[in-house]
């Protein structure tokens, strides 16, 4: 992690603490140069810079463009100790570096169970079988001849925040909340495909299956399948990325990410759920009394302040400070986000900016004049169903600490006088 004020990132050599120190020194340097400007003018202005004199690269250098080299620290990261092997693992979206509501394709977190399948779209097939009038096979070409829709949806892993059930653990919102992304999908309503095959009256469930080495499978109730599910082949206007299921993935809006089967190759209609591994052994929520909830599909109302946050400390000192974050709900749109600066004693309503779309990320801002005193920052979202984001302790009281999944508790960041931010929990 590297301070963005450093033009030449030193990659992994610097520890976070070094980075924080550098950030604070950077802040001091800015103040000093402002002083220098008063004396002799800012050399960045008074002296001619290389980029102002010499030519840059031509249009043939980067047929597919990349972010600026000064953004090299804006990357997905993983937590090596979480899983046995990176081939069946997860990485995290750098939420603290992003703004707006759309996640760039290359930064969308990845979770797969048998590595990224590489499939030539010409070799891909989608089969519909089971309780249908006519079992069908579609090529990608077939699928692109159905009417399409464009929809913005968040995709959140049910385990997002799962490491925080027992207490504040990971120091960065990339790690505490980064199993989420939000893009605009282009695809065919699943309903059209099912109607093409003709679902029999006893067809109440759908099994979605991936073509990867884990042959991922999940049961989905037919009501949801016919409601708003999409079979998508584009994200943010371009083809799905391989790690996001190229050439075809299922979108199950508002529901846990594991159900959004990637490399989608088969849809089977049945009269009962299948009790697959990812809906029995995994993605079931163990309660304190030893019982476990299953079919916990909807992602609850949730929010987090993305900046300031542990990886995005306040480096500029007192004065105007933009507090910003994300809010979302699998039930619909976000109606309101409140922010507290004192750990939850008093709250003020933040400003929502940008599109407000159902089952999509929402961006909020609270613009304050920071006096340099300690802050205990929290955000609290409310959705259009009137559901309010609970505290972590309320969730623990209801479920215990072994649920792993569906932790939508209110996050607290402690900002100290120097602008350093830490993941904490409060009374």
């Amino acid at each position: 992690m590297v301070d963005i004020t450093d033009p030449k990132p030193t990659k992994k050599a610097a520890s976070r603490r070094d980075f924080l120190k550098a950030g604070l020194l950077g802040g001091a340097a800015v103040a000093a140069s402002a002083g220098a400007a008063r004396a002799a003018g800012d050399p960045l202005i008074t002296e001619i810079q290389d980029w102002n004199r010499y030519l840059g690269e031509g249009v043939d250098v980067a047929p597919y463009g990349k972010p600026s080299e000064f953004e090299a620290n804006v990357v997905r990261r993983n937590v090596p100790w979480l899983t046995a092997d990176p081939v069946s693992s997860i990485n995290f979206t750098p939420l603290h570096e992003l703004d707006g509501i759309i996640t760039p394709n290359g930064l969308c977190f990845e979770r797969h169970h048998g590595g990224t399948a590489i499939i030539n779209p010409a070799d891909h097939r989608l089969m519909i079988n089971g309780l249908v009038d006519t079992p069908l096979v579609f090529t990608m070409e077939d699928l692109k001849r159905f009417p399409r829709e464009n929809r913005v949806y968040f995709l959140e892993c049910a385990a997002n925040g799962g490491m925080e059930w027992r207490g504040a653990q990971l120091n960065g919102c990339q790690f505490t909340h980064g199993m989420i992304h939000c893009v605009v999908y282009t695809g065919v309503p699943l309903r059209y495909l099912l109607e093409e095959a003709g679902v029999k009256t006893n067809g109440k469930w759908l099994l979605a299956e991936g073509a990867d080495a884990s042959a991922m499978t999940r049961s989905i109730p037919m009501e949801k399948a016919l409601d708003d599910c999409l079979v998508a082949f584009k994200m943010n206007g371009e083809a799905l990325r391989p790690e996001q299921g190229y050439p075809l993935r299922l979108c199950v809006p508002g529901w846990e990410g594991n159900m959004w089967v990637k490399w989608l190759r088969r849809l089977e209609v049945g009269d009962e759920p299948w009790a697959q591994r990812e809906e029995t052994s995994k993605y079931t929520d163990l309660l304190a009394d030893g019982k476990a909830r299953r079919h916990t599909w909807v992602m609850d109302v949730k929010s987090v302040i993305t900046s300031p946050s542990p990886q995005a400390p306040v480096t500029h000192g007192k004065g105007p400070l933009v507090i910003t974050g994300l809010a979302w709900s699998g039930n619909g749109t976000i109606k309101r986000v409140d922010v507290t600066l004192d750990g939850g004693r008093t709250w003020q309503t933040a400003r929502l900016d940008g599109p407000s779309l159902p089952k999509a990320l929402h961006r909020f801002y609270l613009d304050i004049n920071w006096d340099g005193s300690e802050l205990l920052l929290q955000s609290r979202a409310m959705d259009d169903q009137g559901l309010v984001q609970p505290t972590k302790n309320e969730l623990r009281l209801a479920r215990g600490e072994n649920s792993i999944y569906h932790n939508n508790g209110i996050q607290t960041w402690h900002v100290n006088n120097d602008g350093v931010v830490e993941n904490v929990e409060v009374s």
């Binding site: 093409e196 042959a215 909830r293 003020q348």
Partner: protein, 369 residues
């Protein structure tokens, strides 16, 4: 070379040279892709460490079973003691059929079936071996083995070439009717009531060696789990504990999930490689490891499968989140004087200190499985 008759090696060499010398050379870039099949268990390149399998830097010229700090099978150590040294020929033979060459090897991988995959992955591994780099001539003379059968086999017929295509009768008329054999090839899911089970059977005793050869390397000899790979057995009566252990016996509600998952996704990195009888036998052995059955002669079959129940089935309940007090109250959230006094910090992430900061962070703070 022990175990590998010279004549066979020569035959392979001759054919390789005749048919396609460029194939025998291999393409390191293509090999990097093939290596993904190996990467779950093997690391190679700068800083590579032993994982489930040994690291593969300088594998060319290395005596079998000799990488320091890796716990090999007895069979591999014996092969090394008997003089087996890894080169293009021996690695090629091993990668084509690991258990055929080293009976008793821990490597669960069934082998690479395509000659060009073997050649390419060897070319890739060669880039991490100085000895091989210094003497590339040997490799280029065609020592890399080429599976004779595969090399001689005619190319697969283009799919769907002579297939009778029946068009969709739906509103759009898009897609075509799926053939019964196509549905059979993909529709392998099993439900708790046994729907979808194939014909077949297997006993606990038959399952044990299959488990030892294919599963124990990650899941442990008794299902106790190696490293962070899933624990499969034990954990009974731990679900209310501070650290519950969720295994097939302690947590999973249905046996069908075991059969279904093993058949579709295991062994890790070599899915769909086991026969239905093997999966029955493995499932029976997992029941035995979990004390659900105690007779080594117990035979699991399509006929008796649905009668086997797992102990925790009754403990799965419906989603009750909507009834939780914090959602049920539906009142306007508090805006002022919401807490009696100044707020205290009760927990800090820095104290736990498990956030990744760079390379070599070995801290452990739990699992999300």
């Amino acid at each position: 070379m022990l175990k590998f008759p010279k004549s066979a090696a020569f035959a392979v060499l001759a054919l390789a040279t005749l048919s396609s010398p460029s194939l025998a050379e291999g393409d390191a870039d293509a090999g990097q892709k093939v290596f993904k099949k190996c990467a779950a268990c093997h690391a190679v390149g700068e800083g590579a460490k032993h994982k489930v399998g040994p690291e593969l830097n300088e594998i060319f010229g290395r005596a079998a079973g000799s990488a320091e700090g890796y716990k090999y099978s007895k069979a591999m150590i014996e092969a090394g003691d008997a003089g087996l040294v890894w080169d293009a020929a021996t690695l090629g033979e091993y990668l084509t059929n690991p258990k055929g060459m080293i009976k008793g090897t821990k490597m669960a991988f069934a082998g690479l079936k395509k000659d060009d995959e073997v050649a390419n992955v060897l070319a890739y591994l060669r880039t991490f071996s100085q000895e091989a780099a210094a003497a590339p001539a040997a490799a280029e003379t065609g020592e890399a083995p080429v599976e004779t059968a595969a090399a001689a086999a005619p190319p697969e017929p283009a799919p769907a070439a002579d297939m009778v295509v029946e068009k969709s009768q739906g509103a759009f008329g898009l897609g075509r009717k799926a053939l019964p054999e196509e549905i059979a090839a993909w529709d392998i899911d099993i439900r708790p009531d046994g729907t979808g089970l194939p014909e077949g059977s297997g006993t606990v005793a038959q399952g044990e060696p299959i488990y030892t050869d294919n599963c124990a390397v990650c899941h442990g000899d008794f299902g106790e789990g190696a490293g962070r790979w899933p624990v499969l057995a034990g954990g009974q009566d731990t679900l209310r504990n501070d650290r519950p252990e969720k295994t097939i016996g302690s947590y999973w509600p249905y046996l069908s999930t075991v059969f279904d998952y093993v058949r579709r996704a295991m062994p890790f990195g070599n899915a769909r490689s086991m026969s239905d009888d093997d999966v029955y036998a493995l499932t029976a052995y997992l029941l035995y490891l979990n004390d659900v059955v105690d007779d080594e002669e117990f035979e699991l079959s399509k006929e008796n499968f649905a009668s086997v129940r797992l102990p925790n089935e009754a403990n799965f309940i419906a989603d009750g989140r909507a009834d939780e007090p914090h959602y049920a109250k539906s009142v306007e959230p508090c805006m002022t004087d919401c807490k009696p006094g100044p707020v205290e910090i009760t927990a800090r992430a820095q104290v736990i200190d498990v956030t990744p900061e760079g390379e070599g962070d070995e801290n452990s703070g739990g699992s999300i499985d």
